[in-house]
């Protein structure tokens, strides 16, 4: 039995929001807005979002 690893592809995942119609665009908008918010307020966002916490740490280190 062969167990293949399936790479979903980061770009391929993101464009699924565009391909999901109007509701998908809304998801893309919310996701993008959240990322910008995380960048602007790393310390504040770190308390609410795991991925933002990681991003904040990277920015502090740099």
């Amino acid at each position: 039995m062969i167990l293949g690893y399936l790479d979903p592809g980061t770009g391929s995942l993101i464009i699924q929001t565009v391909l999901g119609g109007a509701a998908g665009l809304a998801v893309l908008f919310r996701s993008t807005r959240r990322r910008f918010a995380d960048r602007k307020l790393p310390a504040q966002a770190a308390t609410t979002d795991g991925s933002a916490s990681e991003l904040a740490e990277q920015e502090i280190e740099s």
Binding site: I2, P8, G9, T10, S12, I14, A23, S31, R34
Partner: protein
Amino acid sequence: MLKAAATLQLDLLEDALTEGLTLKDATPYNIQFVGNRPVFVDIGSFTTYRPGEPWIGYRQFCRQFLYPLMIRAHADVPFQPMLRGSLDGIPAETARSLLKGRRATRPGVAMDVMLQARAERSMSDSSRNVRSEMSSAGFSAELILTNVHRLQKVVEKITWDAGESTWSEYATCDHVTTQRGPKETFVTRIAGLKHRTLVWDLGANDAHFSLAVAGLADTVVAVDGDEAVVDRVFRSLSTSGPHNVLPLVMDLADPSPGLGWRGVERRRLEDRGQPDLVLMLAVIHHLVIGANLPLAAVIDWVASLGSEVVFEWVPIEDPMSQRLTANKRRSEVHADYDEESLRRYLDGRFEIKEEMPLEGRRLFHLIPTN
């Protein structure tokens, strides 16, 4: 056939999502053909849909179903060598280079090819957890369904006009029409000697003899290297049957090898089934004269299948052999391409149970001796 498989894949994903499930991958290898009917065989691919998850198999669907269909239909590029060369399918960037310009206006090309290629390129070194981001932003199964419905329309609109090919009009040749009657009588009588589980018709062309023996066997696999002919056969079988005949595109001089990890993820032709009858009608001259394979090697390969064989010998003097030698010197054709050598190579490997002359050619019913 790939289009039929793609349609089944999308239909199953649609049904799965409406039942709270999803398909965790999207590869044509999960779909096999029982005769000419596509059947999904990987039950383990069904998994519970986790709210917020995108369609993990979308990229794979594009690489292994959508791009091959698009480049065949829109760019007239055969996808078989590309899929055979890479189990992972055709990358978006490769599809983009084949489908740019006016072809980019075809349904789905702008979004599924151009946009995806650009997204993959720009995100190639990203470490973002996009799945988590999309989930927390409210991604849902409805978005996947919207995409699936769109893809169903895209796939439906992909049509390939095979047109004429080297062998698409072969069945109308004079020698074919005159020889078919007695040859069919011989073939069906041998095939009908006992019930056949699996028959391979190698070099099947329009599958005339596959159809002739279809009622005498559980399954007939009709193999031919001409994609246009095989595609025509598949369309005909899909609408009017019989449904136990599976047409396959394969060059017998270069058949599908084992693929993937250690060459065993996808099996080579010989490992996919054990035929109890092999038809090799009007194909030996293509292998020995056309593909320049030694006669002894071909007979050795046929014997390795361990099957009964209905074999048609086409001598060098035959008009079809002459056509193949038109641009060859006699020294460039294997010197042992003659009936005496054939019998010598058959000896020890097969018992010649029966033979019948046929307008300069000769039909053999061969029984393996081991």
